[in-house]
């Protein structure tokens, strides 16, 4: 089929734009399926419940932010957007049974911009963990957790 050269050029431009957008979104939290997300109030209920499955809660974001405020009992491994952070995450969960309930969270940035939770989720999926949830934080940890009065701990 012969095609107008202008249309061809424009089509290539749009194709490039769409591919670039897809690549950009590939590492974003919004790519995590809803079935693998957990809301803050649900997590709080689980953490406060004496019965039921115990969750291993892991912060995969910035240490400076973790030091100011984090979920009590949560462990810090490092930003999962870095190779070092991912290695620390893998090391932490390596020996755990693959059915272990794990909750990862960050809250450094709005959900659509978080660079950490998607790589962390990918890493845990790749290791075969079947019960992983990512805490859904729409804006940031301050707005969606601390300001809402959920329990908070400070320090390392």
């Amino acid at each position: 089929m012969n095609c107008n050269p202008n249309v061809k050029t424009y089509s290539l431009f749009v194709l490039f734009f769409v591919v670039a957008a897809c690549l950009c979104f590939a590492q974003q939290a919004s790519q995590i399926p809803e079935s693998r997300r957990i809301d803050a109030d649900e997590l709080v209920k689980i953490l406060e419940s004496a019965r039921g499955e115990k969750a291993l809660v892991i912060d995969v974001g910035s240490h400076v932010l973790y030091s100011q405020a984090h979920i009590p009992g949560s462990e810090y491994v490092g930003p999962a957007s870095t190779e070092n952070g991912l290695q620390l995450l893998r090391k932490r969960v390596q020996a755990l049974p693959r059915a272990q309930f794990i909750v990862i969270y960050c809250g450094c940035c709005p959900w659509t911009h978080c660079p950490n939770v998607k790589p962390a989720d990918d890493a845990l999926q790749a290791l075969g963990f079947k019960n992983v949830k990512t805490l859904y934080i729409p804006t940031n940890f301050g707005t969606d957790w601390v300001d809402k009065g959920y329990p908070v701990a400070k320090g390392d």
């Binding site: 107008n4 809250g107 301050g142």
Partner: protein
């Protein structure tokens, strides 16, 4: 040979797709949340922090200038998007008394130095810590920016990516007052 009508339809289709993609990306990049500062009009807490290029930077040394105190990090995408605008604002309003001061919340200074060079940052950047975060009411998400008046009082706080037009209007307003 494709017919002119088919060509026209194809062009319209591509244009609609481009428009939808642009609107989607714009909405995404403008996800922002501005909240009133608790303690607005209060004196911005003073601090001394290490500059990424050596030396120490003290906030109160800029008393008499309007300060845009920007908490950011190299891994924070909205922060990266804002930086070129901040560089422009610093150039544009330097002579009228604007001083931008970046507080990096990165865990180490190396990527910050690289970023500083890459983006040709024209204002001081210091390394932040948990203590300064707490001093400013908790920096528990990035970016967060405080616009501080000449008298050292906080004029406004922005949580999330800042609308540059709004911010520039606020800067002009702060620069226009003597205090």
């Amino acid at each position: 040979m494709i017919s002119p009508l088919a060509n026209k339809k194809l062009l319209i289709g591509i244009a609609v797709l481009s428009l939808l993609s642009a609107v989607f990306l714009l909405a995404r990049s403008r996800f922002r949340h501005t909240r009133a500062l608790s303690g607005q009009q209060s004196i911005a807490p003073d601090f001394v922090l290490p500059g990424i290029n050596g030396g120490a930077v003290q906030l109160s040394a800029y008393r008499g200038r309007v300060v845009l105190l920007d908490f950011w990090a190299t891994w924070c995408e909205p922060c990266r998007e804002e930086t070129p605008h901040f560089v422009e604002l610093q150039d544009k309003y330097r002579d009228q008394g604007l001083q931008i001061l970046g507080v990096s919340m990165d865990d180490n200074a190396e990527p910050v130095r690289e970023f500083y060079k890459q983006f040709k940052v024209n204002y001081p950047v210091v390394m932040g810590n948990a203590r300064i975060g707490e001093l400013y009411g908790g920096v528990l998400g990035l970016p967060i920016a405080f616009l501080i008046r000449r008298d050292g009082r906080v004029y406004v706080r922005h949580d999330g990516a800042t609308n540059i037009t709004t911010l520039e209007a606020e800067i002009k307003s702060a620069l226009a007052t003597k205090t």
